[in-house]
Symmetry: C2
Subunit: 206 residues, 2 copies
């Protein structure tokens, strides 16, 4: 049986469901409902049921969702039931913040490599990861088979670095530089752009 | 005439349209179409037309959108045709990165205040902004009438700081701490969570 591809917007909501469900688990909860999840996330219960139904039958009418089961299922769907090694390019403030970020642990990611072009930074350690010269980036990433990179370089060099990453086999890029990136088909980019988030909220301010 | 409220998901797409349109302007372009925008953003042309039509008639059949006009209109709708002062709480890596971020300029935001509880940081300058003691936060924010804050504190103290921000009059919070925040009705929170973005992409990896 071939299925229609799941819309990207649905995929985009799964990590948000996963985060909320994981928090419920941490709070000692075992069962939840689409109503409760919806209230926590500001998404309609019907939307949540519809999204999840694309992947199978996860809840029973009247008894709700078994949280632990649903967490495991979503982790499997999103392929974060494993640990992905990630490369960070740029060992400035953002790169440093990423290495110290507590939110990768248990969510499927491990920062394995960091690169910079500043001779003062190359060879120093961020936690237990030694900053490597960006000149070695393609070789190191290819050798480790890394598919995911976080880009924390100045906007002026971002595209050039991305071209190198793609050539080295990276297929998913999280971009912190305030610039639009061009990538070939099959490579994905997500943007961390605080202004976009802030502008979403100013609409509601007086 | 009263109108139905615009769905939040539509508001959430406007900043993304604005970013794409601004880039077209920077590239010297004057006119675009919902087709072109859609291709750049991975959103259907019909969706873009429908979203924009909620706010008025911005394009003409067959001639497309005047980019400068549309940019000005969206800025007005999102209330970023002005400059909002923003407070940053937490002068660590993330706070430092935010002060150095090039993407606030011309997008409606200016970091006006920074707070930390570390005596070694209080009194030092980040660019031309002096880090203030978090003990003064409520007074300073209230006095300046600041409505927007970016939260870059450890997860363990995030909720406590948010309670203080809300009491001081803050109504929009961009949260970098990997923790869910509870706020009263009328206060909005957006999350910067790199794991959520990464998990959106792993679905498509082999």
């Amino acid at each position: 049986m071939t299925r229609n591809p799941i819309p990207e917007i649905v995929i985009g909501r799964l990590p948000v469901y996963l985060r909320a469900l994981t928090r419920l688990l941490e709070q000692g909860r075992q069962v939840t409902s689409s109503q409760e999840l919806g209230e926590r996330l500001g998404i309609s219960a019907a939307q949540i049921r519809k999204d999840l139904s694309q992947f199978g039958e996860f809840g029973k009418q009247g008894t709700g969702y078994d949280i632990e089961f649903l967490v495991a299922k979503i982790q499997e769907i999103l392929k974060v039931d494993r640990v992905w090694e990630v490369a960070v390019v740029g060992a400035g403030d953002v790169g440093h913040a990423l290495v110290n970020y507590g939110g990768f642990h248990d969510r499927g990611f491990k920062i394995a490599q960091i690169f910079d072009n500043d001779p003062d930074k190359v060879g120093t350690s961020y936690k237990d990861i030694v900053v490597m010269d960006i000149a070695q980036m393609q070789e190191k990433i290819r050798k480790a088979g890394i598919k995911i990179a976080m880009l924390a370089v100045p906007a002026s060099v971002a595209q050039e670095v991305v071209d190198q990453l793609v050539e080295a086999g990276v297929e998913a890029i999280l971009n912190y530089a305030p610039v639009n990136l061009v990538v070939p088909p099959g490579v994905r980019v997500q943007y961390i752009d605080p202004s976009v988030h802030l502008q979403t909220m100013t609409y509601f301010l007086d």
